[in-house]
Symmetry: C2
Subunit: 682 residues, 2 copies
């Protein structure tokens, strides 16, 4: 009951739910500096989610936020995938081995690390960056949303706070975790064992002085990241579409004692007639087993299985049958659960582009492809910077529609992939070609190999919109949402940078710093700080004709109302909204930063910090780490170069000739709003 | 005045001084779990030391302790060294460029990061590992040593605490830092600016309740790491031998505003007649300049210069003259100082192998070669595990003599190098071949290139001793100390592992985990946990004859009184004193850990943790990261293999054939004491 004494305050962004999707949204808020709160009804970091798979793309994103190294150090890297199934004699044998992550697509490999560690790194990162913006915030735990209203009349008013949410700060008793024994009797482990030493602070419940009281929060934007049973989604009346399947799976996190040879490899194991399982080798000697449980069937009427019948002993017994004649036992089990695969996608991802839902709240599917946590985090990685840009007056509200067109389409593709993969994984291996009820192992292998690219997260290809300058139909390339505005008329020249498709994440190749010769994976400079980047492939600047082209391009960049300064607030550094990074192809030792590159490419920094030596790179041989072959890798002509615009989330938005300054200007006119040049204009 | 009420306690190791050398000693104590205290008379982490250069070898050591990644991320990596001197026209020009670190010797490059950050990482690491041993300790600040006595009658009694030190816990007033204005009037910067956000805790002085009181600490061992003016050294009456030189140098840490092209490269700049300078590009846009200051000369009588005459303005003016016609200005200076090069080495590094001195307390030299902090840390990296082994009853006291024989020799070599380098660096460039008073730039370049290997820290080659099984004279290869005992009669067979010289650090090549195919730089498995390692180059185990050799070797390793179990306490894991790591050369996919490798190579772990999958590696093609060519790299016959013993600090101690089990046993009989097999025998 909301009393008149409930305190009331305004915030740019209110995030409901502090799982990976919510934390990713909060990370953008921290890195861009918008006023943000993130609440979670649970009282401590103890949580139900137990995801662990990390795609290559997710690791790239973590790197752009600054904590991929922490993940990479602790995670188990999955290198090889082996497929086991019955041989002609019916005996289990290794049928094939393939690399788990496709070769050559990323510096990172698919990895596995407990969700609790990922959340730890997010929390540290959010604290650091939000503090850096003088706006420190962290997760507020034990805060339960009670009601949410949207004032539809104010949704287009950029200064308004049209969402009113009433929340209740739980008292000690209400906030006690109920996770160790769920209502349905399925216990899923000792959650406290998931808390690492550096989580100590989280065990001490922060008291806010608000315990037991209600509060009114007025928000410009809300993101519901509150899981499969999303309260936010229910308030909006949105639904998930799809059905559960017949397959029941158990999950065991154990330290295995076994003579199965591939227990430290990712494996699929199809037994002749006892079902299948998947092996996921994890950090700290743990192995996760996904095991098909045939003993428990879905109820004929409801289609739902009684999960309370499933025990760790039952799951182990099923696993032993699949793995026979190999043995499997364990003494240590850190967690276990059971689930029935359900594949569902939300009908709507937003209400009036003021309230958004993301992650498990809008898509559910099988965990075995290791996609769930990744796709959820990437939902809000797609959304967070867009909200920040609109809040900060940098971008028109129209860009917010691309969240649904881009991410709902990804969710649909994910469900289609999961559907195919789960069916092949759950089925009985075919005895021979005539055995149509069985699953062809050849087909399974083919789908797995195709799926590896999908599973890496690097095949995401966003459709045409004001943010993605490419050909085709915006509706067909997205989820049907209309995002094809007048501003989206510009089409990039893909042929100039063949291997960085517009709509996909801009790839990484090694380049050298022109000044200090240090080799860098170029992607390390695409930091998640909310800025667009224009990558000037300057070509061979030692050829006079090309140098002239570069000079002319730089003159345009320097123009007061040109494509760059038009969006830069008065008095702000020239690289504060769009940053120019240069990669040239002339021999490094023949060039000199100050002589061979116009000042706009290495601008004098504010506060008497001298020239910026970290914006001009070269594609050349390094002393210790070989040649990055970046021009070849990107597919750019090393003499003539080109210009690429990359979105704040690292996706290629536009490609053009150095002369096509108009195209570049048109592209940004759809993404950005001209800066208010008044003193308080930023 | 020590009252009878002064509390008294015992400790295995007492470290005096919490700079890099002291912290490295403390890191060993934390990783091995001996009872340790580390005191520093200064009240906060604010400090005078401003070293920043990190050798390849130092980074390897940091990796073995677990924090190289933190350094590598924040540090500036120095890739290229360029040499500037006057051309035939007298005008300054870049004469040559060379890689700063020799190519192919290490995954790490010479790097630069402020000493304060290094100390931060040590403090975190010490807290984590000492806590892991249930023995958490940290630096006790504001604790001043007052007196120290050694009971010579007890030095050979391993259970005794022969060193009695009285310390005084400073009160608030005494503990106030006096560093911002030294007695001689030379101010050297704002020290608080060196404290990073994660140092916040250090700003709050820890109160121990002992303020203003004295305490008696009885220690088994003491290490004095208390700097060039070492109190510990003075108590022992030991001296430094050597002389100051005539060269006066100024140091400026600035954000330069300049048109000098190589300001982000490490450079030497010799001007025609205005002296020379060195450029060290650092983290956070900083550049350190070492500038020769000719305006101030040493006093003819004392040989010492009046440093109070040197100001930042004077140093800048000198730098401007050297760099002309290029311009140099700055607005930000974070630190500056001036020094007169003095090259000195201590006469003794220990008193009765109970009190040791290390770091600046036993060697001083020019900072320009970036050696100081590195050699200091490596002193205690050499010593710490030896003390831990003796304290834990694993090793005889005789091994402690190797500290002086190994490290005093390194200090002597360092001084010789520094002498040559400094002279060439400080001199005026020769006008032509006839100009004998000038420095030949050709000679300078030659010495620099030769010196790069020395400066990497990877040329250290410890002499023959009970810990280093090689030919030659122990006295000649060391500093003259007698370390050639009966136990040191064994000589390794260098030819079996050509590229891992006995006495030098065991190098790193990429190998794959047999079970999971993950590529690892092999060195990552040589952790600083106090264990010796025996590396079994098992060769091609799929060849029956070689498999038999491996089986026989493993049988010996399993023998109750054999070279391994003889040193392993009853009930302790078989790998607790010496760990066997295997690298084989058969094709990975043809092998299976459990079938092809005897159990001793992947032993069942305690507490029902199953087989150890992290001890057997293979030299094979990886999926994503090429072929490590480890057998080729180490110079080992891929069919026959060999056996290498590596000391706890990563230095190669012994090499032998698989059949030479006696040699391996003889080697360890000099390093280790047979385990007491009683219940409390460890």
């Amino acid at each position: 009951m909301q009393g008149t004494d409930a305190p009331e305050s305004n915030v740019d962004l209110l995030i409901v739910g502090a799982g990976p999707a919510g934390l990713m949204a909060a990370a953008w808020a921290a890195h861009t500096g918008i006023r943000t709160r993130i609440i979670d009804k649970r009282s401590t970091k103890i949580f139900t989610g137990q995801a662990d798979g990390l795609q290559c793309r997710t690791l790239e994103i973590f790197e752009s936020l600054g904590f991929a190294d922490r993940v990479w150090k602790e995670a188990n890297h999955m290198i090889e995938f082996s497929m086991w199934n019955p041989g002609p004699d019916g005996r289990l044998r290794r049928d094939d081995r393939v690399p788990d992550s496709p070769i050559g697509i990323s510096r990172w490999h698919e990895s596995v690390l407990h969700q609790g560690r990922i959340e730890r790194f997010f929390l540290d990162n959010i604290a650091k960056y939000s503090k850096g913006h003088g706006n420190e915030f962290g997760v507020e735990r034990g805060v339960l949303p009670l009601s949410m209203e949207l004032d539809e009349g104010k949704v287009e008013d950029t200064d308004a706070y049209p969402v009113k949410m009433v929340v209740r700060h739980l008292d000690e008793e209400e906030a006690s975790p109920e996770q160790s024994a769920k209502g349905n009797g399925v216990s899923d482990g000792l959650f406290r064992s998931n808390l690492a030493p550096d989580d100590t602070d989280e065990l001490v419940r922060k008291t806010s002085g608000m315990e037991g009281r209600e509060e009114v929060i007025n928000a410009k934007y809300v993101i519901g990241c509150d899981g499969a049973h999303s309260w936010v989604r229910k308030q909006l009346g949105f639904h998930l579409e799809g059905e559960p399947t017949d397959y029941i799976w158990g999950v065991l996190d154990i330290v295995p004692i076994t003579d199965f040879p591939d227990i430290r490899n990712r494996c699929s194991v199809h037994s002749e007639s006892s079902g299948s399982l998947m092996v996921i080798p994890r950090e700290n000697s743990l192995v996760r087993l996904y095991v098909q449980v045939n003993e428990v069937k879905p109820d004929a009427e409801t289609g739902r299985a009684d999960r309370s019948k499933i025990t760790p002993e039952l799951i182990l017994k099923s696993a032993q049958k699949v793995l026979a004649p190999y043995t499997l036992e364990y003494k240590h089990c850190t967690w276990w659960t059971a689930y029935q695969i359900g594949q569902r996608v939300g009908t709507n991802f937003s209400k009036s582009e003021r309230i958004f839902i993301a992650g498990d709240a809008v898509h559910t599917h099988s965990p075995k492809a290791g996609q769930g946590m990744n796709v959820s985090m990437q939902d809000t990685y797609n959304l967070g910077w867009k909200i920040a840009h609109v809040v900060q007056g940098k971008a028109p509200r129209s860009i917010l529609k691309t969240y649904q067109s881009e991410r709902r389409r990804v969710a649909q593709d994910l469900i289609a992939f999961d559907h195919k993969f789960s069916r092949l994984f759950s089925g009985r291996p075919a005895k021979d070609a005539a055995d149509e009820a069985g699953v062809s192992m050849e087909e399974f292998k083919r789908v797995f190999k195709q799926g590896a690219m999908f599973a890496s997260g690097l095949s995401v290809d966003y459709g045409r919109s004001m943010l993605i300058a490419k050909e085709g139909s915006a509706k067909e390339q997205g989820d049907g949402t209309e995002v094809d505005s007048a501003a989206a008329k510009v089409v990039g020249s893909q042929a100039l940078c063949k291997n960085a498709p517009v709509g996909m994440r801009f790839p990484s190749h090694q380049v050298l710093n022109q000044s200090g010769a240090r080799p860098w994976p170029f992607q390390m400079w695409l930091k998640s700080d909310g800025r667009y980047r224009v990558i000037l492939f300057a070509g061979n600047v030692k050829k006079p004709e090309q140098r002239k082209r570069v000079d002319r391009w730089c003159e345009e960049a320097e123009r007061d109302e040109g494509w760059l300064k038009r969006y830069t607030p008065a008095g702000a550094p020239v690289d504060s909204v769009v940053e120019i990074l240069t990669i040239h192809s002339a021999p490094r030792v023949e060039c000199n930063l100050l002589e061979d590159f116009p000042a706009i490419l290495h601008p004098l920094r504010a506060n008497d910090m001298g020239w910026d030596y970290e914006k001009v790179f070269v594609d050349d041989q390094s002393y210790h780490d070989g040649h990055g072959e970046a021009y070849k890798g990107y597919g750019v002509d090393p003499d003539k170069g080109c210009v690429v615009a990359v979105r704040p989330d690292g996706y290629t938005g536009y490609i053009g000739e150095l002369e096509d300054v108009e195209g570049l200007g048109d592209y940004f006119s759809g993404c950005l709003l001209p800066a208010r040049k008044a003193a308080n204009g930023s």
